[in-house]
Structures are given as structure tokens and as C-alpha cells.
Subunit: 195 residues, 2 copies
DNA sequence: ACAAAAGTGTTAGTTGTACACCCATGG
DNA sequence: CCATGGGTGTACAACTAACACTTTTGT
């Protein structure tokens, strides 16, 4: 809509009278963009500038929602996925919202098990590594990723191995996440409680 | 008010038409409880359950506000400070709000310079240690606190020393915070970018 | 001289990165 | 038997907690 005809905007809508914000987000994602596999949802900032949009005063409460890499919702025609590294022109304050979400995700990847919400049920270490690289924006060593996540008991080996491609190579072990709910795995970098 | 006659509630109020949420918080703290020295303010969760309070539907946006230990606002008669370790009966979901704020503060003390907002302009290490102990709820070693904050360049020595009490002892060196705005000092516990 | 408070040095343990090396598979 | 991708072991560096020891003051 004017004055942002060519700009993209995030999905969103009005809070219903008998729902809380989380319910509202899940409802709108399902109704508007057919996204129904939200594995993790958390609040981000509120955007409350009086003139953030034309028209009646609105306050936008933003969320970070994660779905597994394998999800493939049936997007409507006016909707599509965009890599965060190459965002199109975005309406109002929506670019800022996306950047907030990106940095929150990057931060939580380092001290929580939040990747459970991005990975499929079972995966190889190199598959998981791709997810971390994409979300963090820099290369991650699969070796050390394995060690860190194993020490923190974030990963559980399934004992199975993945089938190998036509180019050969040793078959990769399959893992799953020990928990499928957010857990802080590295609480205090410094100033831990004594004992 | 009914049905929470004897319960305490946090200061708060209605968002004005021409202010954003930050401005609203600062206005309400000043007007309602004479708190005007807010050195740091950040958003916490939104509470949006449809029935969280009787009466018309409200959505509460909560904040963590920090003021220096030396601040002494003139509180109205119906208002007082309460230690988080011994909260009185609290109205509606306000206890949950306080606990959220407490854990956010504790977390940020470990990886940011957020204590600048709690300390006076100049302070001794043992004074700062008391602040950390109170906020974290467990003893903190002044020695290691000094080392950690110095290495991260969070503290700057003033060169001055504090006057010593009547019981003797070596006079303490005075420090100030290098920045008086929030800075992340220990960004990645794990999975740092290479190089 | 002694007690009290502050500051320094040392040690040991944990965690993380980097990288060389070994293993399993397909062609 | 070689290329390819996966997994393991080791070396090194950084950081922290704990605590003994030294320094500086007032009485």
C-alpha cells in the first residue's frame, strides 16, 4: 500500500480479543502464509514510535519464529522467502525488525540449543553445520561444533548412519537433538556462582 | 483495588498518543514515583493474556530500569522499595514480571557492562562487589571481578583513592566505568567467528 | 606492633580453536 | 587404489575460580 508500494513487509495482523500474542502470531502465520510448523517462537522488541506507520496509531510486537529447514509451506502469490543477507526494499521499520531477529538468533545459537527448531528430526553433522553457517553468516568447523554440542549434551547420536551419495565418502552418523524445547546450555561466561 | 486490595503492584500506566514506550516509561516513573535518574532502560516481555486483569483488555509491556545505588527519589506514601529476595504479595502477574527482570539483570551482568547503571560515578572495588552480590544473589570475589572487568576494559582507574574509615585498612583505589551506555563485552561464549 | 582492608601472584582446571591424521565408502 | 567426505586426537591458547601472600593504612 501507499506510500510503500514496492516494499515487502513481514506477515502480521491485529491481536484478537480472546487470544494472547503467541496465539495471535501462530494464527496469523497459519492463516496468512500457511506456516504451521513453528518449532520455536519468542518475543523480540516492541516498535512503538507514534508515526511508525501512516493511519491509526499502531504498536508492533515482533517475534522470532523458527521452522525446520525441511518445512515447505504453500506460500500465497504475494509472499516469498528472502535471504536475510539480501533483503529487498522493506516497508516502514520492518528491516530493523529482521535485523533484530537475526542477531537474536545468532546470539542464542552460541549459548542455547535453539538450533533444534531449525534442524530436521534427524541430521548429519555436516547438515547441522550448514544451518549454523547460514544463520551465523560465517564458517563453522564441524569438528568443533560436534564437540561443543556433545559436551553440553545437546545432541544424541541415533546410532544410524545416513546413506552416502554417488561420489563416495564415509557415511555420516545421524544425530537428533536431546530436547526439542529451548534450554540454556552455557549460562554464565564469567562470574559463575561459587562452588 | 479489588480483588487485590493488599497486594503491591509495579508502577505503570497508559501509553500516551504522542509518545513511544520508552518515553512513556520515563514519564510515568518521574510522575508517579519521582524516579528521574534512570541510567538504563530496556524492554522485557509483553504480558498479553486476555484475562490477566479484570476490566477492559490490557496488554502490559514490561521494562527493566536501573538507577544508581546512590539515587534517593522522594517516594509517595503508597510506594516503597522492596528487596527482590523478599517480595510482598503482588498483584496479578507482577511477581512474574519482577522475576523476569531479575534474571535478565543477572544474565547481563555477566556479559555486558550493565553495572554502570547501578554504580555511582566513582566507586571502589568492594563497593562494586556489593552491587554484584546483591544483584546476583551469591558472593562474588572482588579479586576476580577486578581482573575480569579490567581485561574487558570495562573499568577505568581514576588514580584517586577513597578515604579510609575509622577502622583502618589500606585506602581503596577509585574506578569509574569506561562507558555509561550498554556494551556487550563477552559476545560469544562458543562458536566465535574464525580468525 | 597489630588488626583491618585492599591489592597481587600463582595454580589448576575448563573450554574452545586449529589442524593434522585416520576411517569408510564408491568408482 | 584413489578420490571424497566423515570422524578422532592432539597441541595450544584464553579465561576463570580459588586462595595464599603482600601492601598500606589507623590505632
Amino acid at each position: 500500500m501507499e506510500p510503500q508500494v514496492n516494499a515487502w513487509s513481514l506477515p502480521g495482523g491485529i491481536l484478537g480479543a480472546r487470544e494472547n500474542l503467541n496465539e495471535s502470531v501462530l494464527r496469523q502465520l497459519a492463516e496468512k502464509v500457511d506456516v504451521r510448523e513453528v518449532a520455536h517462537l519468542e518475543q523480540l522488541s516492541i516498535f512503538s514510535e507514534p508515526d511508525r506507520m501512516p493511519g491509526p496509531r499502531t504498536v508492533a510486537s515482533t517475534f522470532l519464529g523458527l521452522i525446520p529447514r525441511t518445512a515447505d509451506p504453500h506460500l500465497p502469490d504475494d509472499t516469498s522467502w528472502h535471504p536475510v543477507a539480501a533483503l529487498p526494499e522493506m516497508a516502514f521499520d520492518h528491516r530493523t525488525m529482521v535485523l533484530h531477529a537475526q542477531s537474536r538468533l545468532a546470539a542464542k545459537l552460541s549459548y542455547t540449543n535453539i538450533a533444534f527448531a531449525l534442524a530436521p528430526a534427524e541430521f548429519t553433522m555436516s547438515g547441522l553445520r550448514e544451518i549454523y553457517c547460514a544463520a551465523l553468516g560465517y564458517p563453522v568447523d564441524a569438528t568443533n561444533l560436534q564437540r561443543v554440542l556433545t559436551r553440553r549434551a545437546v545432541l544424541t547420536p541415533t546410532g544410524e548412519t545416513a546413506r552416502v551419495g554417488r561420489s563416495g565418502g564415509r557415511p555420516a552418523a545421524l544425530y537428533r537433538f536431546s530436547d526439542r524445547t529451548l534450554r540454556v546450555t552455557d549460562e554464565f561466561a564469567a562470574l559463575r556462582p561459587p562452588g
